[in-house]
Amino acid sequence: MISVTLTVNSKTETREVDDRTLLVEYLRQELGLTGTHVGCDTSQCGACTVHLDGLPVKSCTVLAAQADGGRIVTIEGVESGTDLHPMQAAFRDMHGLQCGFCTPGMIMSAIKLVERHPEGLTEAIIRDELEGNICRCTGYHNIVRAVLSASETMNLS
């Protein structure tokens, strides 16, 4: 067992966990933050994407112990008060989800995608850089529209 302290969505938590505990297991099972999903469990699908010290990571392929002392943001931590994050709002407005399973990972990935491009986004860049997130419902078209729309809102604020 190992003691792991993480600051998750601005709240610092410490748990004693098995050394092999994955970050996504820590979030879901220890903290009850089940918005972060386990899709493929093989670092392919991106449903488990969270932010670790400001970077998007696949939390199924990071040990909780590796992240010890780190700052984590999950899908539960992106809204401000009762207001959805602009990326969440855009996914709703543009019908960027159907079953919703991939959506938390898509949104966490897309927020960082926008931040990497303060100069603005194009459809081609979005399609290219969302390569680590797989959706089996939408055909991606409305996801791309949502990210493009959110990027305009985010760059204004």
Partner: protein, 277 residues
């Protein structure tokens, strides 16, 4: 994943002490090959020694002669380095084609090189740019480092600390990515050196992992342009064949990628490469 014990080293010396004390320990950097392998129970180290936070393994240093990259430097850092892009753009370009943004946040150059996956990108950079792999024990020239699929000459408990890339006159990397895994179906690094010598390394295609295409090197040393190698083909008997594509297909793709890489190296000015694919 089988049970294991996690420890974190804060220095190279500490990491070496910890691995020496372990029965069957493994160094853990980004973990983007090791952890999936452990989940499949194909690896079961009794101790994981986390080396990702060792400051001496996280750096990029550029001098007039070479570029040195710490082994625990993530792909995203290499890909985003403006300093690297100015002197050896083929390298950050190669890093930007590995996996996806989340994989690049975590995966490291040292991990990729040590693992020597036959479809990984960095082995083509090591061999194609004539790099030296510097370990806790020695300096290993690229031509001596790789030893077949997933094998290198690294010994148990030996830790890669950094990679030293000499600076070529021109270089470019071209890759055909598997759309599913984003690994290389084939990837080609070409480099031209002061004095006119040329190196060509091919990853993804060979049945024995990364290799130098010496026949292409000879022709390009005589004339460095795409026409010089257009008629050359790799022998399909030496290529791998799998569910994605056949050996003759890979041999053909590698030839086209080399021609494109040579053209790109020539067109974008000294030490150049650009473009997404």
């Amino acid at each position: 994943m089988y049970a294991t014990r996690y420890t974190r080293a804060i220095s190279v010396d500490e990491a070496l002490e910890q691995i020496a004390a372990a029965e069957d320990g493994a160094f853990l950097a980004g973990g983007h090959t090791l952890l999936p392998t452990m989940k499949q129970r194909l690896a079961a180290p009794d101790v994981l020694i986390d080396i990702a936070r060792i400051a001496d393994l996280n750096f990029i240093e550029i001098s007039d002669e070479d570029v040195v990259i710490g082994a625990a430097t993530p792909h995203a850092v290499v890909a985003a380095s403006a300093e690297l892009a100015a002197v050896l753009p083929a390298l950050p370009h190669l890093a930007s084609l590995i996996g996806d943004p989340m994989v690049r946040s975590r995966g490291t150059i040292g991990g990729s090189v040590a693992n020597n996956d036959p479809a990984a990108d960095y082995p083509a950079a090591i061999l194609g740019l004539n790099a030296k792999v510097i370990t806790s024990q020695r300096s290993i020239p690229a031509d001596d480092f790789f030893a077949g699929l997933f094998e290198t000459v690294l010994e148990s408990g030996e830790l890669i600390t950094h990679i030293r890339f000499p600076r070529p006159s021109r270089a470019a990397y071209r890759k055909l990515r598997s759309p599913a895994s984003r690994y290389a179906v084939a990837g080609v690094m070409v480099s031209l050196w002061p004095g006119g010598s040329v190196r060509v390394a091919v990853t993804g295609a060979g049945s024995d992992g990364v290799f130098r295409w010496t026949e292409a090197e000879d022709r390009l040393t005589q004339t460095f342009n795409a026409d010089a190698i257009r008629a050359l083909r790799l022998d399909p008997a030496d290529m791998q064949s799998d569910f994605q594509c056949s050996a003759p297909y890979r041999a053909g793709v590698a030839g086209h990628l080399l021609a494109d890489a040579v053209t790109e190296a020539l067109s974008a000015g000294p030490a150049a490469a650009s473009g997404r694919h």
